[in-house]
């Protein structure tokens, strides 16, 4: 479904990604793990169109994403939950969710999708008229995920959804992501939380210093120092 081939991405003059290749098949739950600064967020941003790779290709369902604008990429079916959630604090929960369905193809089914999202995240329905800025960390993350779902994505990418959350919340968030996957949405999860990543995903890629250094299941990857450290630490 998603195919990244030999992608280089720069921040100005600084190269952040070096010949990244990975793929995600339809229906899969794939993780991208690695330490801080490895380039995980950069990878997601490159896929979403916020950064343009200078070489290589990113293809989604046969469609070359290289030249597309971010809003077009959402239309094609990729939705990202950015790091920290990035909810629109000045607007209410429901306004945030509605904005998630901004693209025309999602807009017509807005009410239906909203119901589905509330089913997965009942807490959001309780707080639907509350200003997003007043939500707790966990609720904000749920809102961010819910909002991303509103665009009816085929591929949902999550950037460290567990970051800064209490362990019990982390568990419930991941359970919900699993549920979403079971409902047919392909997942690409970026995480530092290696334990969770291994448990949830069928495959993982390890990213270090802007390079993919390995892929496989949990046991396959334990040979990597960074993975071991994260696992134990």
């Amino acid at each position: 479904m998603l195919e990244i081939k030999e992608v280089d991405t720069f921040y100005g003059d600084l190269q952040a990604l070096w010949g990244i290749s990975l793929e995600v098949k339809e229906g899969e739950f794939v993780s991208l793990i690695g330490p801080n600064g490895a380039g995980k967020t950069t990878t997601l941003r490159s896929i979403s169109g916020l950064l343009k790779p200078t070489s290589g290709s990113i293809t989604f369902m046969g469609h070359d994403l290289g030249k597309e604008a971010p809003d077009k990429i959402v239309d094609l079916g990729i939705s990202q939950v950015p790091e920290g959630g990035s909810v629109f604090a000045s607007m209410s929960v429901i306004e945030n969710l509605e904005l998630g369905a901004f693209i025309p193809r999602a807009r017509k089914d807005k009410n239906q999708t909203l119901e589905q999202v509330f089913e997965i995240f009942p807490r959001l329905e309780e707080r639907k008229d509350q200003r997003a800025g007043t939500l707790s960390g966990g609720e904000r993350q749920m809102l961010a995920i819910g909002r991303a779902l509103m665009s009816k994505p085929k591929l949902l990418m999550l950037d460290e959804p567990s970051f800064g959350l209490a362990p019990i919340l982390v568990e419930s968030i991941f359970k919900m992501v699993q549920k979403i996957n079971k409902q047919g949405v392909t997942i690409l999860l970026v995480e530092q939380n290696v334990v969770a990543a291994f448990e949830l995903s069928q495959r993982s890629y390890v990213l270090e210093n802007g390079r993919i250094v390995g892929q496989g299941t949990g046991e396959d990857l334990l040979s990597f120092e960074s993975v071991r450290q994260a696992y134990l630490g």
Partner: protein
């Protein structure tokens, strides 16, 4: 690079110094006076606007104050040199007065705030000194363009040399750091406020001095005129055309500005401002680093063969 610059500047200065001996045509000399005035103005503005990164649109206040004080005192009989210094000092005092509150504002707010301030002075002076100021009869009789030319030359040179000295020093480095990333600079121990204030003061001094030269130069004008916003906008435009944050930029920009405007007003008559404005927009859009930036790009192409494929293009 330094020695070369010093030699070039000295040669040009000498040429300019001897120019009045060869150029007898008063209108040519007047144009030169204008060019030198604008060089002085743009160079001083650039200290604050280009090097310190604080885009001020209130410089007309300094220019006007310098002009006002110089004019009044000189006509009243005070020797010229003291009148000029007084004008410059008053400009500096004013800058000290507004410096602290002004630098609380950042970015666009600083610009808008200084614009408003300039306007306040413009309107106030217009109310208080509403009649035009003309030179007394003997001064009119003895009017000689040459000393005025030299005054402009001296002011321009002083501003230029001071800019050079200031920006090549440690102070200049600190200033650059403040301009690029103020918070980061502060964390490194650079007192941003002191740097900005000093830049403001020096800038105000030379702008005020230029104002004094202006007052000495003109036979008759409305005291409100040097407070007009054009005296804030034009130096900014010139500096930008030449290249902000460079020492030579304002000079080139000023020359370009005056010469271009002259040429165009002669050849395009009533269309000249229209064309000038369009050209300016094009420069802003396509030459953001100014003429200086363009020159260095041209040089890079001529002298420096890019290493094959090592430089990846920017995203």
């Amino acid at each position: 690079m330094k020695k070369k610059t010093i030699i070039i500047v000295t040669i040009i200065s000498l040429v300019l110094a001897f120019a009045p001996l060869f150029i007898k045509n008063t209108s040519t000399l007047t144009i030169l006076c204008n060019v030198l005035l604008y060089i002085a103005l743009a160079t001083s503005w650039n200290i604050l606007g280009g090097f310190a990164g604080q885009v001020s649109l209130g410089h007309s206040a300094f220019f006007g104050l310098g002009a006002l004080l110089t004019r009044i005192t000189w006509i009243a009989g005070v020797p010229l040199i003291f009148s000029l210094l007084l004008g410059a000092i008053v400009a500096v005092l004013f800058s000290l007065l507004i410096g602290s509150p002004a630098f609380k504002l950042k970015g666009a707010y600083f610009t808008i705030g200084t614009l408003a301030l300039g306007q306040v002075l413009f309107a106030t002076v217009g109310n208080i000194f509403s009649t035009s100021s003309t030179l007394p009869p003997e001064a009119l009789r003895n009017y000689d363009l040459t000393p005025r030319y030299y005054l402009f030359l001296v002011v321009a040179l002083l501003a230029f040399v001071t800019t050079y000295v200031l920006t090549s020093s440690r102070f200049g480095l600190g200033l650059k750091a403040v301009r690029e990333e103020e918070d980061a600079a502060e964390s490194l121990g650079v007192n941003a406020f002191k740097h900005k204030l000093l830049a403001l003061v020096v800038s105000a001094f030379f702008t005020g001095l230029a104002g004094g030269a202006f007052a000495y130069f003109h036979v008759g004008y409305y005291p409100q005129y040097p407070f007009s916003p054009v005296w804030s906008l034009d130096p900014q435009m010139m500096t930008f055309i030449g290249g902000t944050g460079t020492i030579i930029g304002p000079v080139i920009g000023a020359i370009f500005f005056v010469v271009l405007k002259q040429y165009m007003s002669l050849n395009f008559g009533e269309f000249h401002l229209l064309i000038f404005g369009t050209l300016f927009i094009l420069v802003v859009l396509f030459l953001p680093t100014g003429l200086v930036g363009l020159w260095s790009k041209v040089q890079k192409i001529k002298l420096f063969k890019p290493k094959a494929q090592e430089q990846k293009p920017n995203v």
